[in-house]
Symmetry: C2
Subunit: 303 residues, 2 copies
């Protein structure tokens, strides 16, 4: 992180999978819930707790029981963790979809505690496959579509309207497609609601979407240029370290190029202020600002 000039990171789980699928598959759920809590305690207290100026805590939920999920959200919120992972499509993991009320206790707990639900691409344990034998570049190119699908599911489901202040972070899904998507959902609503019976009252689906989703990009000039259509308060940047989509160790240079022409106050929002506010995370309370710059961090790494 220092070498890449990155102050803060939110670390998604890998070994236990993005939303704790490993524990959700366990036959002995009594053991599983203890292991899951131990994982969250380790992640929050040890991993993030050792470097609270560098890591934003992110819990995993016990997917097999929405009431237990709600309990865990409340338990970690008391410890200062305001983010939890969930699946971009629980149906593909063998759990109920989001269109009924199955997950309501979980969503209610997240809304009550101001916990952000983080949907990482791949958290449905599936990727878009157009045909067996397709070059892997196809899958890599289309991966962000998982996020478009997840956002579309949520928007047309009752979830956002039932939990009007609930927040979702769409992790690693990119931003350049969002102006198109926001326009598309409004068009679909205006053209088809008379027979699909969707009802957003006196609002448009795009307005509701803008209140619930925070988007995230690695490299995405199309999204930067259209940031005001997306909402500058709704865009965050990531570097995807240590995956091969990452711009490490040249992320600051790559991002600076992307942000050419963007005013400083908007750069501040996109690079850190939006994430700080959304996840209630304040590194500057523990680390003087002058030690948080790209140059200062790189100096610490001796590079």
């Amino acid at each position: 992180m220092n070498r890449n000039g990155v102050l803060g990171s939110m670390c998604f789980p890998s070994f236990v999978q993005f939303c704790g699928q490993l524990f959700a598959r366990a036959r002995d759920k009594d053991v599983a819930i203890h292991l899951l809590r131990a994982y969250n305690d380790w992640h929050i207290d040890e991993w993030c707790g050792s470097h609270p100026d560098r890591f934003i805590p992110l819990a995993i939920p016990p997917l097999w029981d929405p009431e237990l999920m709600a309990d865990e959200v409340r338990r970690v919120a008391d410890k200062g963790c305001h983010a939890v992972t969930f699946s971009e499509n629980p149906h593909k993991l063998g759990w109920p979809h989001i269109f009924g009320g199955h997950w309501d206790p979980f969503f209610a707990a997240c809304e009550d505690t101001g916990t952000v639900v983080c949907l990482h691409i791949g958290s449905s344990s599936t990727q878009i496959e157009t045909a067996p034998g397709a070059p892997i570049d196809v899958m890599i190119t289309l991966t962000p579509l998982n996020t478009m699908q997840a956002a579309t599911d949520l928007l047309w489901s009752p979830v956002l309207r039932r939990f009007p202040t609930l927040q979702f972070a769409l992790s690693e899904g990119g931003t350049g497609w969002i102006p198109y998507w926001l326009e598309r959902v409004d068009y679909v609503y205006q053209q088809h609601r008379f027979w699909t019976h969707q009802d957003f009252g006196d609002r448009l689906p795009s307005e509701v979407a803008r209140e619930h989703f925070t988007f995230c990009f690695i490299s995405d000039r199309a999204g930067i240029d259209e940031r005001h259509r997306i909402g500058v308060d709704r865009i965050t940047w990531e570097c995807d370290y240590p995956h091969s989509d990452s711009s490490w160790p040249h992320s600051p240079e790559a991002l600076a190029k992307q942000l050419e022409g963007v005013p400083d106050d908007e750069v501040a929002k996109i690079t850190h202020e939006n994430a700080m506010r959304r996840f209630r995370w304040d590194p500057f309370g523990r680390r003087p600002r002058e030690r948080c710059t790209v140059g200062a961090l790189r100096a610490e790494a001796g590079s």
Copy 2:
């Protein structure tokens, strides 16, 4: 068409399905090829031939045999038909995918004769389904993703590089997502080609894409605003009559609103010149320009 102020249309088949799946499923292929040729003859000679100033001919191919497909492309090209449908994903219809050489005779015939391969959304006979029980609005919203998938397949397949002048029209897929997609394919190429072994020589995938695809939108301000990133010569408009996404009978007014601020020469390209050039179709040779305006057409309809 007159009532909607629309001069010209390309009519996709419905009863026989977008790329003639009906005939491709027939057990007796001798009968099927005769029926298919009769369909194309009727479409080209009778339907379009009766109103050559209003309809752009579009043939269907005998999907079950790429050599027969090539013959049919050449046969209809001789009759002045320069467009043929194909599947956005033949693998999903039970035929070989596009990553091998199976379809080469067909693509070669299209390239030789300057025939545009038209991929309509839904021509894989599948739609994106996130979960059974999802509101139908999800499927409607995500339908254009079929086009993004088809373009991605083609771009990473050998097809575009093997047939450098072959043209594809991506019908009804929208345009607003394209700047993001062009950026994404270049990013994927630059980050991953060392292990995926894709090779575009001294070019970028986005450059190659811009030479092969013509895109199409119904309502898409995001795409209009970003038209220079997409390529103004590569964008066409459609009204989707008679489907429920259509803006009929107010298409001219709806489109004029979308095109506010766009210079006249670019409006001309998007509304008709690009389609005329791409499909080698010239209505003005048969119908004076003053009878081709929205007002003149509506006057003919008595509206």
